[in-house]
């Protein structure tokens, strides 16, 4: 056939010699022109080859291992298919987490959708639901490597060490995290040995592991990291050292704070924080702080991870101060004064460097997990607007009860806007006590009487209820929303129409959530 093809490409007019075909074909060819014989020989050859086709040899891979998790109940399959199709998007983070916690695995027909996800948080949420079949598939397609990288660390010590030595950056961090939990000292040795060869980004990612099970044994390594070339690594090390009260850095921080922040108590020349409580209980004039951050950033501050360059719109000295205070345990403010954060905070707000003070205390509250401070700070809605990321970090330090009372206060103050900012994007389901609180407020709401600019936050509140209400409260939430829809029905103005269609979507969302909760409860 190759010869025939070569002849046909050139053309019989341009090639004097005929091409040879299989003898069996040539013998059967009738008389004809050169072109005819070429065509017939090629046609017969094609048929011969097609009829004589042989199978190739390819060895099949082993089938997917059996699932260890529960299959998704049939009634939930349409719900999950709907979620995966991108409708009711805002329900996805919660639903995927919930289904994963219930120990389900996705049906095979849904796996490809999840494997194709690009978003990091979305991938993480759905990952456990992929099951054995999903991991088996991912191993066969380079585009789906993220699934394998996110696999849990092996239990076997030798395998773990191999993953640490040879794995991808993400897998190595997984291995180090696992080792830190098993044997903190060994993990520290691994890290110390590996650090000199790592890039800055990886040094930072790996040393972050020390935060887990942090102890004074880590101080030497952290002090070494404080001299790192990378600013990010230095900053992280400083943050961790600050959490070790006996560390040299913690002592330096205390000294520096004492040097530039002092209470000015008129009658008490000692002027220490300890005296403030007395002044407060005596209801005397507001105690003032004398604050005097350095004019030039001292070199030793910079070495301790304080950044020189302030973000846009912040003064340099104020920025240095905020960072320094962020390294000071917040009970250094409250304990000596014998005051609660809620009592102390208004005082701080009245000071000259109030922004830097609040910012610093808030950072410290997050770093040291001081829930009482976080609650007091979040009760100041201004903070929510200024730095949403910080507000989010503060919220994470709160317990359910503190979150509940915070919400309850905001509800009573009718501060829907602040509520929306605080709760709008939170996937976590609410504790049972919150829904009744919110429902109470919602029942009071009358969309038609609300000023236009408050319509959106009010609807958002309904959305939060639909997304977060406890299972038993969902029917009540649906009822409240349907009441609003009923009220809006007669109004044709566009803003009410738009509101109505958004509210209808919320009903669908709440119902889907209800189905999901009911089916998974069985």
């Amino acid at each position: 056939m190759e010869q025939l093809t070569r002849l046909a490409l050139v053309g019989t007019a341009n090639a004097p010699v005929d091409a040879a075909s299989l003898p069996a074909i040539t013998a059967l060819l009738p008389e004809g022109s050169r072109e005819q014989r070429l065509l017939w020989a090629a046609g017969a050859d094609a048929l011969y080859r097609q009829a004589g086709q042989r199978a190739a040899t390819v060895m099949p891979a082993s089938p997917a291992p059996a699932e260890t998790r529960r299959p998704l109940p049939a009634a939930l399959r349409p719900v999950v298919a709907e979620l995966l199709s991108g409708r009711l998007e805002e329900l996805q983070p919660w639903a995927s987490t919930h289904l994963a916690e219930c120990g389900y695995v996705l049906p095979p027909e849904s796996l490809l959708t999840v494997l194709a996800f690009n978003h990091k948080a979305q991938r993480a949420a759905w990952l456990p639901l992929l099951g054995e079949r999903g991991r088996w598939l991912a191993a066969q397609n380079p585009d789906w490597q993220w699934v394998l990288q996110a696999a849990p660390a092996p239990a076997d010590a030798a395998e773990l060490e191999q993953q640490w030595q040879e794995g991808t950056p993400a897998a190595r961090k997984t291995a180090l995290t696992a080792q830190r939990q098993r044997d903190p000292a060994l993990a520290r040795d691994w890290l110390a040995a590996a650090l000199p060869q790592e890039k800055a980004e990886q040094r930072q990612a790996l040393s972050e592991v020390l935060a887990d099970g942090l102890s004074s044994d880590d101080e030497a390594l952290l002090n070494q990291l404080l001299g790192d070339r990378s600013q990010g690594v230095r900053q992280q090390a400083a943050g961790l050292l600050a959490q070790l009260p006996a560390s040299a850095l913690a002592a330096r921080v205390r000294e520096r704070v004492a040097a530039c922040v002092q209470w000015q108590v008129p009658d008490a020349p000692q002027g220490t924080v300890a005296k403030v409580g007395a002044w407060l209980s005596g209801k005397r004039a507001v105690p003032a702080l004398s604050i005097n951050p350095p004019n030039e950033l001292p070199k030793d501050w910079e070495r301790d991870g304080i950044l020189a360059q302030p973000p846009h719109g912040t003064g340099a000295r104020s920025w240095w101060l905020a960072q320094l205070l962020g390294l000071l345990p917040p009970d250094a403010w409250t304990a000596p004064a014998g005051l609660t954060p809620a009592e102390l905070l208004p005082l701080l707000k009245k000071q000259e460097w109030d922004d830097a003070l609040l910012d610093g205390v808030a950072r410290a509250a997050v770093r040291f997990g001081a829930a009482d401070w976080a609650a007091a700070l979040l009760a100041q809605p201004a903070l929510l607007y200024r730095d949403p990321a910080l507000a989010d970090a503060l919220w994470q330090t709160l317990g359910d009860e503190q979150r509940g009372s915070l919400i309850s206060n905001l509800l009573q103050a009718d501060n829907l806007d602040a509520l929306e900012r605080l709760l709008g994007s939170r996937p976590a389901p609410w504790p049972a006590t919150w829904s009744p609180l919110l429902l109470q407020t919602l029942r009071r709401l009358d969309f038609l009487k609300l000023p236009t600019k408050r319509l959106s936050p009010a609807l958002e509140l309904l959305g939060m209820a639909a997304r977060h209400a406890a299972a038993g409260d969902i029917p009540a939430v649906v009822q409240v929303i349907e009441n609003e829809i009923g009220q809006l029905a007669g109004h044709t103005e566009w803003q009410y129409q738009q509101l109505r269609s958004r509210a209808e979507r919320l009903v669908a969302l709440a119902r889907t959530r209800h189905t999901l909760l009911q089916e998974t409860a069985q």
């Binding site: 050169r34 097609q50 199978a55 190739a56 099949p60 089938p63 997917a64 049939a74 079949r133």
Partner: protein, 445 residues
């Protein structure tokens, strides 16, 4: 009745209907549900006050709904079928309500009337002289068309194929149009299919030459058609583009009665026409039958053959050396739901079968049958269908991750089409349920 969601979605006219149908497949939307031996029904609560009444005939999965949708089947019918597939326990055996029974009875009457009409036509006197004259005239036209095609083919050989990539597809399209005028439509389609080949795949010169050579052999055969056995004459005429009317097929053929399992379905579409191939296999005879349906644009197909379902019926086959294409004679009756394929082959045996088929009917486009224990394997950027002993055939270009995900690498009996070059998987059975592998299978995502 053991339906799968994937199987049912193969009935959907488009992915939108499939998606909407799936959304409706939740118990809360269906205040009433029921089934009998011959039908399935339900009332679906829509946005209106009155629920839509949906009914499905289990013999051929025809459906009717009281909704105003022009899609067929509508999302409600699909929703009902998906719900039945996923949660069969919800649909209890029940007495047929009037609105279901009436519809079924009416369907039966219409089918009976149609058959009577065909019978009457078959018995009507024919003007044989006029018919022969028409046939002779057509033969002449086709003969002239093929002679012109032969000259064109020789021109290509003389001037060489190397210049064709520069010529563009027009050359082939013109020749195809001439063949359409000469009433050789099937050959026209084969010529048109070559238009994109020059300059395409690496081995395009060989592929093109093979096809041109086979066209030349067809012309040569047609010149001597009278010397061929009668069955082969039929096959050759079909390969050129002569058609046999359905009523003539019904009148001439000895129908074959069997319990037919729809082993798979394939859909080919170009800008104008969609062609659906439903492959059946007789439970007792093992005979393979091909039901062809054509639809223009987005029009639905006239009949629905649910892949993986079974029905008892008589089929009438088009005449030919290797009868394959068939049509339903009379009406179909529901048969016991199949839980597995009945006749299975190794890849070697498929290749043997295909070679024998080519020997008796060299214009055969493709064969279909069931391969035992098949898995898809992705190797070096190519997909293969593989049996446990390592025998493999290349799969047609496409994405088979869906198949791999659904099958989990467990070997399954799988219905396939083989066109002599690549395999096209159609569907498989697992644990007594059928999973289609057509384009519709991916609507599931």
């Amino acid at each position: 009745m053991q339906l799968t969601e994937q199987q049912v979605l193969a009935l959907a006219p488009d992915s939108g209907s499939a998606g909407n149908g799936k959304k409706l497949a939740q118990a809360k939307n269906w205040p009433t549900l029921g089934r009998s031996t011959r039908a399935l029904w339900g009332e679906c609560q829509g946005s209106g006050s009155k629920p839509y009444q949906v009914r499905v005939d289990l013999a051929d999965y025809a459906s009717k709904c009281s909704c105003p949708s022009f899609k067929f089947p509508c999302k409600h019918a699909i929703g009902l079928l998906v719900l039945t597939a996923n949660q069969p326990g919800l649909v209890q055996e029940n007495g047929e309500p009037e609105w279901v029974g009436d519809w079924l009875d009416k369907r039966g009457e219409t089918a009976a009337k149609k058959e009577a009409k065909a019978a009457a036509k078959a018995e009507a006197p024919v003007d044989e002289a006029a018919q022969q004259k028409r046939a002779a005239k057509r033969n002449e036209r086709v003969g002239d068309g093929l002679a012109a095609l032969q000259l064109w083919l020789e021109d290509q050989m003389r001037n060489g194929l190397a210049r064709l990539p520069a010529e563009g597809p027009g050359l082939f399209e013109q020749q195809a149009a001439r063949l359409v005028d000469a009433q050789a439509a099937t050959l026209a389609g084969r010529v048109r299919a070559l238009a994109d080949l020059p300059g395409g795949p690496a081995d395009w010169p060989q592929q093109l030459l093979s096809e041109l050579g086979r066209l030349a052999l067809t012309i040569r055969a047609f010149e001597r058609i009278d010397s061929l056995p009668p069955e082969l004459q039929h096959s050759l005429r079909a390969a050129v583009g002569f058609t046999v009317k359905e009523e003539d097929v019904l009148a001439a053929a000895t129908p074959q009665r069997d319990e037919w399992l729809v082993i798979g379905q394939a859909l080919d579409e170009d800008e104008r026409v969609r062609v659906q191939r439903s492959w059946l296999q007789g439970r007792h005879s093992g005979q393979i039958a091909l039901l062809l349906q054509f639809a223009v644009g987005t029009q639905p197909f006239a009949q629905r053959w649910l892949p993986g379902s079974s029905f008892a019926a008589e089929l009438a086959f088009w005449p030919g050396a290797l009868p394959q294409r068939a049509m339903l004679k009379g009406t179909a009756e529901p048969a016991a739901a199949p839980t597995a394929f009945t006749h299975r082959h190794s890849i070697d045996s498929l290749l043997q079968h295909a070679a024998q088929a080519l020997a008796s009917q060299p214009w055969l486009e493709r064969v279909a049958l069931v391969l035992a224990d098949l898995v898809p394997v992705h190797q070096n950027e190519r997909w293969y269908a593989v049996q446990p002993d390592g025998q493999a055939l290349p799969l047609a270009a496409g994405d088979y991750w869906h198949w791999l995900a659904m099958g989990g690498g467990v070997p399954r009996d799988t219905a396939v089409e083989w066109d002599g070059h690549t395999l096209r998987p159609l569907g498989w059975f697992a644990d007594g349920r059928y999973y289609p592998l057509g384009e519709q299978a991916t609507w599931n995502n």
